[in-house]
C-alpha cells in the first residue's frame, strides 16, 4: 500500500478541472461558453506547469494565454457574434465520424504511452528557474530569441494591416 499523498490528490483535482473544461470547449453549444471554459483549461494547465517545477513558464502561461489570447478571443467572439442566432453560433458537423476517428487514434496513443518503458529519472527538488532561462536565452538560444522578436514584430504589423479599414 503506497498510498496517495496530498500532492497526488491536488494533481488529480487540477487534471480533472483541466480536462472537464477542455471538454466544455469541445462540446459546448454556445461559443461564449466555450471561450469561458477555455479559461479554466488555461488556468489548469498553468497549475500543472507549477507541478512540473516550471514556475516561470506557469507565470508566462497566465500572462499571455489568460491575459492576452483569451481576451483577444473574447473580443473576436463579441465582434462576430449575433445574439439572435446564439443557438447556431457554434455549429458542429460530423460529430459521430469525428468521435470515432479521435477515439481510435487516442486508443493507439494511450497504448503507446502506457506500454513504453520510460527512463524516468527521479526529479530533483524544484528550484527557481528564471535565472537559468534568462541565461539560456542570451547564451545558447540567442538566435532563436532574436528570430522570435522578428516574428512577433511581423505578426503585429500583419494584424494591424489585416484589421484596419481600407482608405479609399
Amino acid at each position: 500500500m503506497s498510498g496517495w499523498g496530498i500532492a497526488d490528490l491536488v494533481f488529480g483535482v487540477i487534471a480533472a478541472v483541466t480536462i472537464v473544461s477542455a471538454a466544455g470547449v469541445a462540446f459546448s453549444k454556445n461559443i461564449v461558453y466555450s471561450a469561458f471554459a477555455l479559461m479554466g483549461t488555461f488556468m489548469g494547465v498553468a497549475a500543472l506547469y507549477v507541478f512540473l517545477a516550471a514556475d516561470f513558464v506557469a507565470v508566462i502561461q497566465v500572462l499571455i494565454y489568460v491575459g492576452g489570447i483569451l481576451v483577444l478571443t473574447l473580443f473576436a467572439v463579441m465582434l462576430t457574434h449575433r445574439i439572435a442566432d446564439v443557438r447556431i453560433s457554434n455549429r458542429s458537423v460530423g460529430v459521430l465520424p469525428g468521435l470515432v476517428v479521435v477515439v481510435a487514434v487516442g486508443a493507439v496513443m494511450a497504448k503507446a504511452v502506457l506500454g513504453a518503458n520510460w527512463l524516468g529519472r527521479r526529479p530533483e527538488t524544484p528550484h527557481p528557474t528564471t535565472a537559468g532561462i534568462g541565461n539560456a536565452f542570451l547564451g545558447d538560444y540567442l538566435l532563436p530569441f532574436e528570430l522570435a522578436s522578428v516574428v512577433l514584430l511581423a505578426a503585429l504589423v500583419g494584424a494591424v494591416v489585416l484589421s484596419r479599414k481600407e482608405l479609399k
Binding site: A7, V25, L38, L52, G98, G106, E124
Partner: protein, 102 residues
C-alpha cells in the same frame, strides 16, 4: 503510486484529443482556433513533463516558451483574418467561405 511522467502524458493526451475533436467538428472559425490552442497546450505539457523527468535541463522550458510566443502571434493573425472574413461574408462559418471553390 505517486504521480509520474505517465500521468502527465495521459492528461496531455486527453487535451490533444479534445482539441483535435474541436478542430474536426467545429464550423465556427473561432471554435477551430480554440481547438488549436488546446493542442498547443497539450504539446507544452509534454515538453515540460519530459524536461522534468528527463535531463532536467532548461531546453524543454525554453521550447514551451517559444510555443507560447508563436501561439500569441497565431492568435493575433488568426483573429484579424477572422474579423476580415466577417466583414466580407457577415458570418464566420467556414463552410460559407467557398468563393474560390471551382
Amino acid at each position: 503510486m505517486a504521480v509520474g511522467l505517465t500521468h502527465y502524458l495521459l492528461v496531455s493526451l486527453a487535451l490533444f484529443l479534445l482539441g483535435w475533436f474541436c478542430v474536426l467538428t467545429r464550423r465556427n472559425a473561432i471554435g477551430i482556433l480554440m481547438g488549436v490552442e488546446l493542442i498547443l497546450n497539450s504539446a507544452n505539457i509534454n515538453y515540460l513533463a519530459f524536461s522534468r523527468y528527463g535531463s532536467g535541463a532548461y531546453d524543454g522550458q525554453l521550447f514551451a516558451i517559444f510555443v507560447i510566443m508563436l501561439a500569441a502571434a497565431e492568435a493575433a493573425i488568426g483573429l484579424a483574418i477572422i474579423l476580415g472574413i466577417y466583414q466580407t461574408f457577415q458570418t464566420i462559418d467556414v463552410e460559407a467561405t467557398d468563393t474560390l471553390r471551382g
